[in-house]
C-alpha cells in the first residue's frame, strides 16, 4: 500500500501530470454537464461530429503554421451552430448531416496534413490524445472554461431542464429556447477543442455521452442525474490517467475504458435496484 502511494506521489510530482490531471478533470466535468442536455435532446453525435471538425481545423492550422486554438475555436463554434440549426430546420436530417460534416472535416484535415508535413507526431496526438500535448495556456483555458460552464449550469439548471424536457412548453412560458441551444452549442464546441488534445479526436465524445448515460442507469430525477454526471468524471478521469501512466497506454483510451467499466457497474446496480423495488 505504502509503495503504491509513494509511486502515485512520484507520478503526480511530475508537473505535466498535475497539469493533465487538473485540466482533464475540469474539462470532463464540463463535458458531462453539457452531455446531460445533449444526450437527452438526442444530440449525442454532435459531440462526435464537432471533434472531427476540431481535428480538421487543428490539422489545417498546423499545416498553415498558425496558432492552433485561435484558428480552430471559431471554426468549431460555427460548426456547432450549424449542426444544431440544421438539425431543426434542414432538409437533410440530423444524423446524416452530422455524419457528412464529420467525415468531410476529417478528410480535409488529412489532406492538409499530407500535402504539407506528412503524418507526424502532432497528428497522432490529435487522434489519440497525449498528456504531453497539454501546455500551460491550455490549463489556464480549461480553468476559464470550467469557471464559466459549471456556474452557468448551476444557475440556469431549472431553465435548462425545461428547455430539454419540453421545448414547446418552455418556449410558451417565455423562455428563449433558441438562446439556450446556442449557448450550449458554443460551450460544447469550446469543451471539445480544449479536451481533444488530451483525449484525442476519436474519444473526446465519450466524455460527453458516458457520464450522463451511466448516471441515468440508476437515477430517476434530473437533479440527481446532473449531480452524478458531474461527479463521475472526478473518479473516472484520474483513474484513467493513473492507468495510462502505469501501462503506458494512451490517456484517452484509458479514460474511456474506465468510463465503460463504470457504465457496466451502474447498469448492474440499476438492475438490482429495480428488481428490489419489484
Amino acid at each position: 500500500m505504502n509503495a503504491l502511494l509513494t509511486s502515485l506521489g512520484e507520478m503526480f510530482s511530475l508537473s505535466f501530470m498535475r497539469c493533465a490531471l487538473l485540466a482533464g478533470v475540469l474539462i470532463s466535468v464540463c463535458a458531462s454537464l453539457l452531455g446531460v442536455t445533449l444526450v437527452l435532446k438526442r444530440y449525442s453525435m454532435i459531440g462526435d461530429g464537432l471533434s472531427h471538425v476540431a481535428f480538421g481545423s487543428l490539422a489545417v492550422a498546423t499545416a498553415l503554421h498558425t496558432a492552433p486554438l485561435r484558428f480552430s475555436i471559431p471554426i468549431v463554434i460555427l460548426a456547432a451552430f450549424l449542426l444544431l440549426r440544421l438539425n431543426e430546420k434542414g432538409k437533410i436530417k440530423g444524423d446524416a448531416i452530422t455524419a457528412m460534416i464529420s467525415t468531410g472535416a476529417l478528410a480535409i484535415g488529412v489532406m492538409a496534413v499530407s500535402l504539407s508535413t506528412g503524418m507526424n507526431i502532432d497528428i497522432y496526438n490529435y487522434m489519440f490524445g497525449s498528456i504531453l500535448a497539454l501546455t500551460g495556456s491550455d490549463l489556464l483555458l480549461s480553468v476559464a472554461l470550467a469557471a464559466v460552464v459549471i456556474p452557468a449550469y448551476l444557475l440556469l439548471g431549472s431553465r435548462i431542464f425545461s428547455v430539454t424536457f419540453d421545448p414547446a412548453f418552455a418556449h410558451a412560458t417565455g423562455i428563449r429556447t433558441g438562446l439556450y441551444d446556442t449557448v450550449i452549442a458554443v460551450m460544447t464546441a469550446l469543451t471539445i477543442v480544449l479536451g481533444m488534445r488530451l483525449m484525442g479526436t476519436l474519444l473526446i465524445s465519450s466524455l460527453i455521452v458516458f457520464p450522463p448515460l451511466t448516471a441515468m442507469r440508476v437515477l430517476r430525477s434530473f437533479r440527481g442525474t446532473v449531480i452524478a454526471s458531474a461527479l463521475l468524471p472526478v473518479v473516472s478521469f484520474p483513474a484513467g490517467l493513473i492507468l495510462s501512466y502505469y501501462r503506458a497506454t494512451p490517456p484517452g483510451a484509458s479514460v474511456v475504458c474506465v468510463n465503460l467499466l463504470l457504465f457496466l457497474l451502474f447498469c448492474l446496480i440499476g438492475l438490482l435496484v429495480r428488481r428490489r423495488r419489484g
Binding site: R159, F165, D166, A172, I175
Partner: protein, 230 residues
Amino acid sequence: MSLISCSGLSLSYDGRRVLSELTFTVERGDYLCIVGENGSGKSTLIKALLGLKTPAAGTIRFGEGLKSSEIGYLPQKTEAQSDFPASVFEVVLSGRLNARRFSPFYSKEDKAEAAEQLARLGIASLRSRSFSELSGGQQQRVLLARALCATKKLILLDEPVAGLDPEVSREFYSIIRSVNAEGITVIMVSHDLVPALHAATAVLRLDGGHCRRYRPEEFLASLAERKEEA
C-alpha cells in the same frame, strides 16, 4: 374587454396560408373547443395564441392583463420524454419558471404552489416518482398540473387525450371541467368530439382556412346534419 380578441387573423405554415381572416373572441370563464380536420390549422392557431408564431396579418389582443407567457400550456405529446430522468415534482415545478424573472432557484412559494397543484389533481402521491414510468393518463395529469402552475387565468390544451383509453379520457375531461368551474378559462383542441364537447361553452370550427363559432348543442346538430348529407 374580452380575454382574447382576434381580428382579421391570418396565419401561415411553411409559407402556406392555413388560416385567413379569423375574427373571434374568448371571454373569461369560457370553455372553448377548437375542432377541425387534420391540417385545418388547429395547432397553428394554438401556437399563435401562445405567441410562438407571428401572424401574417391581423391581430391577437389580450385583455384583463393577460400576457402570452402567463398561459398554461399542455403541448401535444412528444417522443423525447420517453426515457427522460425527471421526477414528477421537477416537471410540475418547471411550470413556475415564467413567474420567476431572473432568480436562478425555485422559492418556497414555487414549491408550495407545485405541491398544491399536485394535490388538486389527486396525484400528490406520485410526487417523487419518475415521470417516464407513469401511465399515459398519469403523465397527462402531471403535465396539466404543470400548466396550472404557470397560470391563474387561461389554459391551452392541444389534443390532451390523444392515445388515452376512453375511461382515462373521461376522467381527464372531468378534471378539466372542474378546473374551468374554478374560474380558469379553457381552450382545447380535440379530436374526439362528443365527450370533449360535453362541458364546453363554445365550439370554434376551423374549415378551409376560416372559422365559425357555435354553441355546443348547435354544433352537435350541425354535425348530425352533415352526417345525413353524407
